[in-house]
């Protein structure tokens, strides 16, 4: 399995956002699937996160305009969902499950290990922008606890050794 790296567009390029033709086309497709523009808000935001790596205020303003909503309203929605990045994320976002099953099966050890190896705690990013660690609630994969989600992919039954291997691979990939 090869985890796709996130390529976050830097903030200075996302201050004012205009959607290009490709984006417009996909937004139009999304609109078709929903009764109102407002109902299409989440998929359009996902599209933006996929495209820009994160949701900047500029992206929010552009989405709001496209959806004919106020930017405050869109930002309220964005900030409600923790899976929207509101700052440029690292290339690999390590989402370590910290809920009960994973906790019992060694999530803490993994967190310590990451801290030792990469020098980052929860909510922190490596200075080179390669890795970022987040603590998340149950990923719904308790059968494979402890679980780490990296970007879109799940890595189950993690041990410090498997983690080392994964991190080395990812660091090489980029």
């Amino acid at each position: 399995m090869k985890t796709q790296a996130i390529h976050a567009v830097p903030p200075e390029q996302l201050q004012k956002v205009t959607f290009d033709e490709a984006m417009e086309k996909r937004i139009a497709e999304i609109f078709e699937r929903y009764p109102t523009k407002r109902a299409a808000m989440l998929p359009v935001l996902w599209l933006c996160q996929e495209r820009y790596g994160w949701i900047s205020p500029g992206v929010i303003a552009a989405v709001a305009e496209r959806l004919e909503e106020s930017p405050a309203f869109v930002e309220g929605v964005v900030s409600f969902y923790t899976m929207f990045h509101r700052q440029p994320p690292a290339k690999y976002v390590l989402q370590l499950c910290v809920t009960l099953s994973c906790e019992l099966c060694g999530a803490k050890t993994l967190a310590h290990h990451i801290k030792e190896r990469l020098g980052i705690g929860f909510g922190e990013k490596t200075p080179d922008g390669t890795f970022q660690l987040l603590g998340v609630e149950c990923l719904g994969a308790c059968g494979g606890a402890p679980v780490i989600q990296v970007n879109e992919d799940y890595y189950e039954n993690m041990t410090p050794e498997k983690l080392d291997q994964l991190l080395s691979e990812l660091a090489r990939e980029q």
């Binding site: 929010i60 909503e69 106020s70 930017p71 405050a72 309203f73 869109v74 930002e75 309220g76 900030s79």
Partner: protein, 531 residues
Amino acid sequence: MPKLTIDGREVEVPQGTNLIEAARLAGVEVPYFCYHPYLTVVGQCRICMVEIEGQPRLAIACATAAADGMVVKSATSQRVKEAREAVMEFLLANHPLDCPVCDQAGECLLQDHAMSEQGGNFASGMLETRRTFPGLERRLLGPHVIQNQNRCIHCSRCIRFTQEISETWALTYKNRGNNAYIDTFDGRPFDDPFSACAADVCPVGALTVREFRFRKRAWKLSSTPSVCPGCSIGCNIWIDHHERIVYRFTPRENPEINATWLCDYGRFLSESLNQQDVVHPKRRLKEGWQKLPWAEVFRALALDVKAAKTLRVVASGYMSNEELYLARELFARRLQGELVVPVFMGEPRKMKNGRRQWLYSQSALPNLEGAKRLGIRTVDEEGLARFLYGAADLTVVLDPQAHPFLATPEAVQLVKVSPTVVAARVDAPLLEAATWVLPAASLAANEGTWVSSTGKVQRFAVAVAPPGEARPLWQILALLARALGFADLAVTTPSQVFQWLVESEQSFAGLDWNTLLGAEQTSYRERQHVG
């Protein structure tokens, strides 16, 4: 119409009334935080829970419609009491309880409820430290609103206000759960034209009005019913004052006009009512200004007026119907002078009534409609300039703020040509050209009626005594009339003039001065609504 019993009291209410309003009609207070009669019901805070006979679970009164035969228990139910205590425990778990330094104290729904229903008995079981929002504790959310997020109880009234009433959709929750806070898009200034209403609807001290903050404790204020002077819409206000000083306007409920709202422009005219630059009547002599007691003013002025063969009078759309009536009677009918009321549009304003319809201002003047009803000739800027052109034996300007043109050098030049009487409250260029200056009182020290652009005759009452020797204009007109020998016009209260209006003017027929103030007994109720 459903008939139901609440805490043992029987009441019949209109179809669709919710249990909070039904209880109120029955004389029972059901507490609430998130409910507001002019906002959608969201049922978020759960403090309004009541017990309904035959229903196993408690119900929220705000979202339950009264039904025929319902038997509701609020204060008389132990289960309700416990449920409300639990809600309060949650709300107070993180609340800073800084009432002594909170400007909302005295008009805070949370404090009221903690003190009245809970009897002040409250012990927190909270062992952890309180949640705080560093950086959002004394934040200027916009030009008029200060936010202290620590006090927010997440009722969403402010958000709903911007969504449903002002329609700017400017406020939102950011984040969620325990971390949710109120913010604008990207933290930009909250510059909604009705922004201070968000602070009004905030039931606690999370949003307070910058201009009023810390100027006066709420319980020291007296409130007098009045009408906003900001435009022709005529929003109903309370003038909140203490020891002759006006501290603020707050909305007075009127479903036909302003529901429980005010625009920021109108609201913040309150401070201007404290301004009184002209405090003595005076006459210009060759050697300079001479101050005179009122009695002498009227004697001397009456001579000037009598001697004038050509008399022209500029009245004002800020004058009450009673003042306009007196001016018309005295200057136009008895003295055969010419009388006009200048008209100008000013900035357009809008207001949403209780049926969520926008009303738009027809002019900047609160009583243009009244002047029209009295058949007084209205003039625009050009007409006003023409009116003042050339010499007259005497010019009377009853309000230098009647039109912006009166503040221009051209107007001063025009008026300089002939002897001029100016009744004024604040300094104006026109005073340089005047021969007589008479101190007129502000709206806060006056009483009378205005007609809104929607055609409603609305009365305003006296809030404060006029400063210095200033007098309300109706009194100045009445006393001048007496000095001129028209004793029948020398009224001692504007209500007498109003009676003449009722008798002689078709459009005032059937009205009653005594009921025109609106229902004063709603004041407590709407105080609750506006937080």
